[in-house]
């Protein structure tokens, strides 16, 4: 079995924790969340006949001003940047985080526009349409609430992590 570390990043309340919960049922206590700023879950997947275990690092306290501990990126095979499509600001913050990640490490970065069950913010399309998609390996639209697109997104990330 192959194990891969994946980092979940994004402004707060975009739905990182909810996405991971939707994908795996939480195993580790939330206790560490506040104290050290990271919550870890794992989930096994089957990708082209190989079993991969994703270690999902849900990294808290990431916003434009606070930043995050870059050490948490160590050894990661991919990063997922989650943004909230009801808040255009979270998209801009996602781009900023993407820049920080790129400074730190050369890994595939995925953009996830979450809360697809809710209507997009008005300025969303104009913000999302300014040629930043090339920063990302792939983009996805998900809803942690209905589960739409979640499995597919993680599967694609796992694939990319394997073929790194």
């Amino acid at each position: 079995m192959i194990q891969k570390k994946i980092c979940m990043l994004g402004a707060s309340a975009v739905g990182k924790t909810s996405l991971v919960k939707q994908f795996v049922e939480g195993i580790f206590s939330d206790k560490y969340l506040t104290s050290i700023g990271v919550k870890i879950d794992k989930k096994k997947l089957e990708v082209d006949e190989t079993t991969v275990q994703l270690m999902l690092w849900d990294i808290e306290g990431v916003d434009r001003y606070a930043g995050f501990n870059p050490k948490y990126l160590r050894g990661a095979a991919a990063a997922i940047i989650v943004v909230d499509q009801t808040r255009t600001q979270s998209f801009l913050e996602g781009i900023e985080i993407c820049r920080l990640v790129k400074l730190e490490k050369e890994i595939p970065i995925f953009l996830v526009a979450n809360k697809s069950d809710l209507p997009k913010s008005e300025s969303w399309d104009s913000a999302a349409d300014c040629g930043v998609t090339s920063l990302f390996e792939l983009s996805f639209s998900t809803s942690a609430k209905t589960g739409e697109g979640v499995e597919d997104m993680f599967l694609n990330v796992a694939k990319a992590a394997l073929n790194k």
Partner: protein, 723 residues
């Protein structure tokens, strides 16, 4: 004159030729020659360089002065450039040096002794005295237990960069700790600590080496590429840290490449199991009573002497072999080897030994006789259950008035108050409090009927001896009140615990407490798979071959597959599902309907019914064409209904040029109507037919005809939404 000029000219030519020749042979500016000379000079120098350096160095020592700074500089710059790499090269080396430094050993002993002294005076000391009294054992015994009992419960080897678990070994397999998660969390905590407390730049990163909780200690050893973590209950001595250190160093040495190139595949570290297992130590150490009375000075002197010996050791290479052999010997129950190394002309062996264990000399005899050995033996109390019979036998000798059954470990009989208390305190030292209770339950203060207790004890013992079944782990089986209380962990897919104990007979007297856990056991696969497949009545499961057969819809197939992927045992889900066919007919049927429909519509649009010029009657030769068209129209009606579409067929008459526009329009419409009539006669409902006259459609065409189009205003589905 002319001849002279000639000869001059020829001489000039000659010079020029000579020049050319020279440059051909020797090269421009004699480059070729210089090259040759240089090359042979290099050969010449090469031949004598070493000797020359040697001679010069001997003459005035100036070579060192020239070369040393050069070497220093280049070493320095390459060390700076690749610091991490150097550290990892040097790590095993440096590690062993550090380990050999005796000071840490000294510090440990002093610390422990200080703890003893301290605790006899402090609040803790008073509390211990009180608790010792209550437990019915001497204070010194209690202190010893409190100070030295420990057990390594789990050892984890963790990849430092990724935080992934490379390998773990667990003492108690039922203790389902999640090694993957612990590893990742520890790494995260470690990063956090390094970041929060790291003081100055360039200083070694601050890192965790111990985490204490109420009920265990995590001892963490950090190497450049991996960490070794031991979860320990009780109070571990420093020997454990040494052992971890050694193990980590040797893993770095052996697995250097694998650690560098780790890409998430931990199977390469499977073989570290042996090394990790050796760290699963368990001891209940006990200082000899008299040792406690040793004065400080004596301890100091003893240790100094020891240090002296250790420092003194120099060329004991031949002893190294024996020391090594002893290290690789399997220790019998109750003996723990702390160290075995050459010292002077002897091999210094340091062991912990339980008083009831076999002699150290017997154990070592296969490797060496005791003449070559300088033995330092310290008493300790082993937790090894294999020693229990010996211990109990010792008790049985002291309490000859009790009946003792060595097989079940049960004492029967009655004792006077005084002897009863004495007995209890002796047993308490040997067994855990739970088992003490069992034994004490069987021994009476006066002459009571004890047969019931004996029977229950036997029953409990029977439960303990039940054969292992997949998915059930026996935690305990003890006499409690009037029955036997059995505690088990049970996987939901395992057989019922009551079925499991049925063979014993007296089910009524057994109370089962069951806790759920998830076992990983291939033998549970048939019942796991059966439970899952049961939720899919359309499938058949054969529990012998583990075959699943039948057909199932796409969505339910996905659902089933996800469920199967959740099974903890390693199975190839795709192999299991090999014989399950997925019902995609409904999907592909619709698709083939759509394709056929398109094909017919294409045909219909290409159909032409020819008319004679100036005629509005359908020519006889076209009857056959109309018939074929009728069949196609029947088909598209059927298909359109299947795929929920509405269609109209437009029949378009045309005419050739010539005549007035009004005439031509009418003529073309008449032709279309003639075709429509023929189609209605052929059974096509008029509701889907529309006619129109196009008049002169194309001036270049001289055969008048009727052509067709098929329009789909809006599918029914769309219409519903729009309404």
């Amino acid at each position: 004159m002319s001849s002279n000029r000639d000869s001059q000219a020829s001489q000039f030519d000659e010079n020029q030729q000579m020049e050319q020749l020279r440059s051909l042979v020797l090269g421009e500016d004699c480059q070729i020659v210089r090259d040759v000379v240089e090359e042979s000079a290099r050969d010449l120098v090469t031949n004598v360089l070493t000797e020359a350096l040697h001679d010069r160095q001997k003459n005035d020592g100036s070579v060192t002065a020239v070369i040393a700074p050069l070497v220093e500089q280049s070493v320095e710059s390459s060390v700076v450039a690749r610091k991490d790499q150097f550290v990892s090269y040097l790590y095993p080396l440096v590690g062993s040096l550090v380990r050999k430094s005796v000071s840490s050993f000294l510090a440990e002993i002093i610390e422990q002794t200080n703890e003893l002294l301290e605790s006899s005076l402090t609040y803790k000391g008073l509390k211990w005295r009180f608790e010792a009294r209550r437990a019915g054992i001497s204070y010194s015994q209690y202190v010893v237990q409190k100070t030295f009992v420990f057990r390594v419960e789990q050892v984890l080897l963790i990849h430092k960069e990724t935080g992934m678990l490379l390998k773990t070994v667990i003492r108690d397999k039922t203790q389902a700790t999640d090694g993957d998660m612990v590893s990742a969390m520890l790494t995260a905590i470690n990063d956090f600590v390094a970041d929060s407390f790291s003081p100055q730049e360039n200083e070694l990163e601050q890192s965790l080496d111990e985490i204490k909780t109420d009920d265990f200690i995590l001892l963490i050893k950090q190497g450049p590429k991996a960490m070794l973590v031991a979860a320990i209950t009780g109070n571990p001595p420093a020997g454990i840290a040494d052992k971890l250190q050694l193990t980590l160093e040797s893993i770095h040495q052996i697995y250097n490449d694998e650690l560098n190139d780790y890409d998430g595949d931990s199977s390469e570290f499977e073989n570290t199991e042996q090394q990790l297992n050796e760290c699963l130590l368990a001891q209940q150490k006990e200082n000899k009573a008299e040792k406690k009375k040793l004065p400080w000075l004596a301890i100091g002197l003893l240790l100094l002497g020891f240090v002296g010996l250790v420092t003194y050791f120099s060329k004991g290479w031949e002893r190294e072999g024996i020391a090594n052999d002893i290290r690789t010997l399997n220790a019998p129950p109750g003996i723990v080897l702390l160290s075995s190394k050459t010292c002077g002309d002897k091999v210094c062996v340091e062991v912990l030994r339980d008083p009831v264990a076999q002699d150290v000399s017997t154990w070592i005899s296969s490797v060496s006789d005791m003449d070559d050995i300088l033995l330092t033996e310290r008493s300790y109390r082993s937790l090894d259950e294999r020693l229990q019979p010996q211990r109990l036998k010792k008790v049985a000798n002291t309490f000859a008035e009790l009946q003792f059954d060595p097989e079940s470990g049960v004492f029967l009989g009655s004792l006077s108050r005084e002897r009863y208390d004495q007995f209890q305190s002796m047993i308490s030292v040997i067994l855990e409090s739970k088992s003490v209770q069992v034994i004490m339950d069987a021994v009476k203060l006066d002459e009571h009927n004890v047969s019931n207790t004996i029977a229950l004890n036997k029953l409990a013992n029977k439960v303990r001896l039940l054969p292992d079944v997949p998915g059930i782990v026996l935690l305990s089986a003890d006499v409690c009140a009037e029955s036997v209380c059995v505690e088990v962990l049970r996987d939901p897919d395992a057989q019922k615990a009551s079925t499991w104990i049925r063979d014993i007979g007296s089910e009524k007297r057994i109370k089962i407490r069951e806790r759920h856990f998830q076992a990983v056991d291939e033998r549970l696969l048939p019942s796991r798979l059966a439970r899952i497949v049961k939720m899919y009545p359309e499938l058949v499961f054969d529990s012998d071959s583990l075959h699943i057969t039948g057909s199932i819809s796409v969505a339910r197939f996905q659902e089933l597959r996800t469920q199967l992927l959740g099974i903890p045992e390693s199975i190839s889900v795709d192999f299991l599902l090999n014989d399950v066919s997925v019902e995609s007919q409904s999907l592909s049927e619709r698709m083939s309907d759509e394709l056929q429909l398109e094909q017919y519509i294409y045909d219909i649009k290409a159909t032409k019914i020819r008319f004679d010029v100036n005629e509005n009657q359908l020519p006889d030769i076209e009857i056959e064409n109309i018939k074929r068209l009728g069949i196609k129209l029947d088909e598209i009606q059927r298909l359109a209904k299947n795929v929920k579409q509405t269609l109209f067929v437009i029949i378009m008459g045309t005419s050739t040029s010539g005549g007035t526009e009004a005439y031509n329009n009418k003529l073309s419409l008449d032709r279309a109507n003639a075709v429509m009539k023929a189609l209605i006669d052929a059974g096509i409902p008029s509701s889907i037919l529309r006619t129109t006259g196009l008049g002169v459609f194309d001036r270049n065409i001289d055969t008048p005809k009727v052509i067709f189009d098929v329009v789909r205003p809006l599918s029914e589905e769309n219409r519903e939404v729009q309404d």
